[in-house]
């Protein structure tokens, strides 16, 4: 596997700050807005966004985690059943502006399941999508993000991994490529 760092710690922080300001631009003071991170990896993005937004706006931002296991369309197409992670959305999404957050947008299938899952918490006023990495031209479904950290062109065989200081020891986004002679 060849490794290529797409964003290092410094750039990742800049990107997150920019995304926060983009969010504030369209959501003003977040009075009707909630942020929902998709399990398992989207929730780490939300942790950072929440801290940054609260620092800028000086107020609490409502955030939750959403598990989409039971809403996936590949149940029984995988070898083993998918074990669910925790959902904690202890607020109603009825009539709220919801920002769905995930780390990488690839085929769009997770987001489709996420939309289904969000609707079981009520009927939101609007749903938007924010992703740190958009793997362009790789969609199976007509889904696009409203806020993108960085768009990258990748091959199907490649893998993008978003890593965090708290969990993997360092903030960075890495592109893994199979070596050409494989």
């Amino acid at each position: 596997m060849e490794k290529q760092v797409i964003l290092n710690a410094k750039h990742l922080e800049l990107t997150l700050k920019r995304l926060c300001h983009e969010l504030i631009e369209s959501h003003n003071d977040f009075s009707n807005t909630v942020i929902v991170g998709l399990q398992p990896r989207g929730i780490h993005v939300v942790e950072r966004l929440k801290a940054l937004l609260e620092d800028i706006l000086k107020k609490d931002i409502t955030c939750g985690n959403l598990d989409i296991t039971f809403y996936r369309d590949d149940f029984r197409r995988r070898e083993t059943p998918l074990l669910p992670s925790v959902t904690n959305i202890d607020f109603s999404l009825e009539n709220k502006d919801v920002i769905l957050v995930d780390d990488v947008l690839f085929t769009g299938r997770t987001i489709r399941s996420g939309l289904d899952a969000v609707l079981s918490f009520g009927r939101p006023k609007s749903v938007e999508l924010m992703v740190l990495i958009d793997r362009r031209f790789r969609r199976d479904l007509p889904i696009e993000a409203n806020y993108v950290g960085k768009a990258v062109d990748t091959l199907l065989s490649e893998r993008v991994s978003v890593e965090w200081k708290e969990h993997e020891g360092e903030d960075k986004i890495v592109l893994y490529t199979k070596e050409s002679n494989e």
Partner: protein, 309 residues
């Protein structure tokens, strides 16, 4: 571990400790789901389930039906009264007729012990035992253990007494297997005539004195006297039974510690348990019913995951 070691749920006896943990973990997620505004997930939308009840049931049948609907499965219901069974059709024929309508999973309650196991060997579908005679009632034991775990944090080292008609109870047998696999100690208590002689070989303590049993335990599971399964008289009168083995507020208050009271239903108020105990804060009877749906969702979800497309 993220799949079950068994292909059908016939009895707790066949399950491993890992299976139990997996079912509980999955049930935790489903319990969240059934407390949402929209209590339904689309996981099983391409699965058809037949509920075959050859014996009366209210709670279990409703609970299974609701669990299946919450998973978006298509369901058909069948009860023995008013069916071809009365006209002399065999079990395998009845079930195969239903399966030819492309059913993937069968939930069955039957008065004969071993019926579910027999069926699982004869038909090409997943089988979930919803009670087979006096043998096992696995989902009841799972939801009982799950409710205790929710109440006390874990079952490791906990003491559970099962009181009443042990001889005719599938709930008792499944509970014994389940609680022991989870590290709990089990005692049975009741009139000598209603306690099978082989109990000690299961590693279960036996007591014929309710007060003594309750002093020992953390949890008391009160069973109903199954008059419909009793062909001879096992005790002089129901009144005498309830005076000797009925759980009353006075006995409960006289204990040195507060215990958890359970009942698998249906309750015969005033016989095995008085109304004030059944409705008290120590009783978790209604939590058991709620957890029943989550547990059954988990079991069906995990079995359905094994069905090949």
């Amino acid at each position: 571990m993220n799949s079950l070691s068994v292909e059908h749920l016939i009895g707790i006896r066949d399950l491993t400790r890992e299976d139990l943990d997996l079912i509980f973990k999955t049930a935790d997620s489903f319990k969240q789901v059934i407390n949402r505004p929209i209590k339904k997930v689309p996981s099983l939308r391409d699965i058809t389930i037949a509920n075959l009840f050859f014996e009366n049931s209210t709670r279990t049948k409703l609970s299974f039906e609701l669990a299946e609907k919450r998973l978006s499965a298509d369901i058909i219901n069948f009860s023995a009264s008013g069916s071809s069974v009365k006209k002399g059709e065999t079990l395998v024929d009845t079930v195969n007729n239903i399966l030819s309508m492309k059913v993937d999973l069968v939930v069955m309650r039957h008065p004969s012990p071993g019926a579910a196991s027999f069926l699982s060997k004869k038909v090409n579908a997943k089988v979930v035992n919803a009670g087979d005679g006096t043998h096992e009632h696995p989902t009841q034991a799972l939801l009982d253990a799950y409710s205790i775990r929710e109440q006390l944090g874990s079952l490791e080292g906990k003491k559970v007494v099962i009181v009443g008609d042990i001889l005719h109870s599938r709930v008792a047998l499944s509970n014994i297997y389940c609680l022991q696999k989870l590290g709990a100690e089990v005692m049975v208590c009741g009139p000598k005539t209603l306690i099978p002689i082989h109990m000690k070989s299961l590693g279960v303590k036996v007591s014929y004195n309710l007060k003594e049993a309750l002093e020992w335990c953390d949890v008391a599971n009160m069973l109903r006297i199954q008059l419909e399964r009793q062909d001879v008289k096992y005790f002089p009168s129901l009144r005498e039974y309830s005076m000797t083995f009925g759980l009353t507020k006075e006995i409960l208050d006289s204990l040195s510690k507060e215990i958890v009271v359970m009942h698998p239903g249906p309750i015969n108020r005033g016989i095995e348990i008085t109304s004030d105990v059944a409705d008290s804060d120590q009783s978790i009877i209604l939590q058991q019913v709620e957890n029943g749906v989550a547990i059954r969702m988990a079991v069906i979800y995990l079995l359905a995951a094994q069905i090949e497309r």
